[in-house]
Amino acid sequence: MLRCPPQADSQPPQIVVTGVGLVSALGTGWQAHEQAFREERTGFGPISRFDVSERTARTAALVDLPEERLFHTLSARAENRVDHGTRMLLLALREAMGQAGLKSAEPVQAMIIGTSAAAMEHGESYSRALLTSPRRIRGQTTRVEHYQPQTQMRTLAGELGWPRQVMLVSNACASGANAVGMGLELLRSGRAQCVITGGYDAVTELVFAGFDALRALAPSGLPRPFDAERDGLALGEGAGVLILETSAHAHARGATPIARLGGYHTATDLHHLTQPDPAGTAAVRTMTRACEMAEVTPAEIDYINSHGTGTPFNDAAESAAIATWAGDALSCVPVSSTKSAMGHLLGGAGAVEAGICVMSLAGQWLPGSLNIRTPDTIAGFDLVRNFRPARVRNALTNSFGFGGTNASLVFRSV
């Protein structure tokens, strides 16, 4: 294992991204996503995985996984026990590790993953089975065992030959961003030199019904973040993985950095369990502090991948926060919401959107906010409505979760 011990009284090490892996309804992998953004394609379709006949919304951006076996170390029977979310995460992990030139997970000292629902599909199966009989039911032990997210992560780690525990962060929609941020904190502290971070979530019946019951889902099935007549979010599913390393570690093993992860901050909005503070006070703090850590000003941010869910309250609060944070630079800051194309990935959102920021830095382009008919006047920033080439040196992504967990990450070009 390569070790670069921290020097006393030294500056924190520079942290670089050496691998990105993405899975969403837009496709599997960097290329598929870039192509979808260029073509301004969305991934929404009807749901057949569970009954939505009594729901207001009936669409989501779902991922069709390849039919072939994904886990090489498991029997077919054992692989059937792996939940949909963990399978997506494995695909994202493989892509990220491949890009980072990691032939094995041996140099990886920590794995921090965000999720909001984890293996809920097994919990749902267990609950449904339980209702069918007053007796003990065959198969329930397996369902119980595999509902537990640590079991799924143990299987995933086993597939990579990584004999450690995965840390699972569950801060609702900010889970993925928090996982990436915790990875940054760990590397800056000198306690690790190479970490895998990411997030994932699959759309399940309970989660879909929950958002529908809250009337948070767009009845039209299409989210329109920052549109004057936006009527809600659309759920999506997917996974995002980022390989983070100190630049010294990456250099020592000959890896090519794709971007720098310069800043991160998290704060808690105490306003309400499900509604954001209209002024976005905590969001202003996360953006400000993340930029301070990255040593960039708002005017130097060339792209914001917004939380941008498409709900009336969220977009208004985020717009207010961006306005306060950006000050005079507001009209020049390009902002888009990729949830307009791939839906809200909940625990996966922050990590996938962090990956999209890295892509925009590497490719020098901005993905568009789709489905907008009339931009809301609250959006005083440069609302990016179409894919466009652009000079991108610094990119920021916001994640604001249920429960008030806010997080911002700042990526910089290498």
Binding site: S127, R135, S189, R191, L270, G403
Partner: protein, 338 residues
């Protein structure tokens, strides 16, 4: 998660709190465990329908009047939130802290399982009427959000999910936040609530396993007075039962000498044997089995063990080893000193 145990500084336990079947304070728990008091197990029926076997738990008694603050966030909050708030309140009592410089780390296994179970039953049985009031309370980090609001903690607040010894990783994360200067104090809490759904699940592991519920809270800092967490040992990873025994055998020689042991025994030989055999190699002046008294508290189990160990070190000026063998992936141990 954290790779190198030696890089963690000692953590001072500035305050501690516990809610358990023994009562709504750490003192209640210490008394019940010290006296080896038998707390009756209560059958927990299914919310709808029947079952032909028993799933039982040692339940937290009703809260003493006036203990919990009156706050809109607690009006519809889940039991696990109430346990957490009470334990945190006890841990924070008498300690001067700046809420804006307070971090919160919550670890749970099942979390708000009562509301989740109720909400999903509604989704199945009356889909159009599934309650929008229940769903937000089913989210893993809802209890942490309520607690943060109640104490005014606007800094880093995170919920980690996994098995009960995940709190060992939370201690390391807390030390990272404290060392990086992100916070001055960090509340680390493990919490769980009992529910028919989870208790039935537990009986698939062993028919006689009795559930429990509650919360254990530690208020941590790098400086100040109080018992100290000197070191966290682990993870000693395993994937199979045989590897679990090996992992514990590997861990035992690395543990500093301690006068007291707080183990994770639940009183069922098949489940306790590996830990008992591993620790037979060491000698202690006293050995405590809190979960035999309080029930299998899942995500709260190791937090309650730690709160008990902190109480013991505080009262008896002793050193204490907390054993956290885990059930599925890794063993840990934590060493405390008065």
């Amino acid at each position: 998660m954290m790779p190198d145990a030696t890089q963690m500084p000692p953590l001072v336990i500035r305050g501690l709190g516990a809610v358990s079947a023994a009562g709504w304070s750490a003192g209640d728990m210490l008394a019940a465990v010290s006296e080896q008091r038998m707390i009756p197990a209560t059958p927990v029926p299914r919310a709808g329908g029947t079952r032909d076997w028993e799933a039982t738990a040692r339940l937290v008694p009703p809260a003493p009047p006036g203990l919990l603050p009156k706050h809109p966030r607690l009006r519809r909050a889940s039991p696990v939130t109430r346990f957490m708030v009470a334990a945190a309140q006890e841990a924070l009592q008498g300690v001067e802290f700046d809420p804006q410089r307070l971090g919160i780390l919550v670890v749970m296994t099942n979390a708000c399982v009562q509301f989740t179970s109720r909400f999903y039953n509604e989704v199945i049985q009356t889909p159009a009427l599934a309650s929008p009031l229940l769903f937000p309370e089913t989210v893993f980090n809802a209890p942490a959000s309520h607690l943060a609001t109640l104490v005014g903690a606007s800094g880093p607040v995170s919920t980690l999910i996994g098995e009960s010894n995940l709190i060992a990783e939370a201690l390391r994360l807390a030390s990272l936040w404290l060392q990086a200067g992100l916070v001055d104090h960090c509340l680390v809490i493990g919490a769980e609530e009992a529910d028919a759904l989870a208790l039935e699940a537990m009986t698939y592991y062993h028919k006689r396993l009795v559930g429990g519920e509650g919360a254990g809270a530690l208020l941590l800092a790098l400086e100040g007075s109080g018992p100290r967490i000197e070191s966290v040992h682990g993870p000693f990873s395993y994937a199979t039962r045989a590897q679990r025994r090996d992992a514990m055998s590997e861990m035992i020689p690395q543990l500093p000498k301690a006068s007291a042991l707080v183990d994770r025994a639940v009183g069922i030989d098949r489940l306790d044997r590996d830990e008992r055999q591993a620790f037979a190699a060491l000698s202690f002046q006293s050995v405590h089995h809190p979960l035999e008294i309080l029930g299998e508290c899942m995500g709260a189990a190791s937090a309650l063990q730690l709160a008990l160990a902190a109480s013991l070190t505080q009262h008896a000026f002793t050193t204490c080893c907390v054993s956290m063998p885990g059930t599925g992936s890794a063993a840990f141990a934590v060493h405390l000193n008065s």
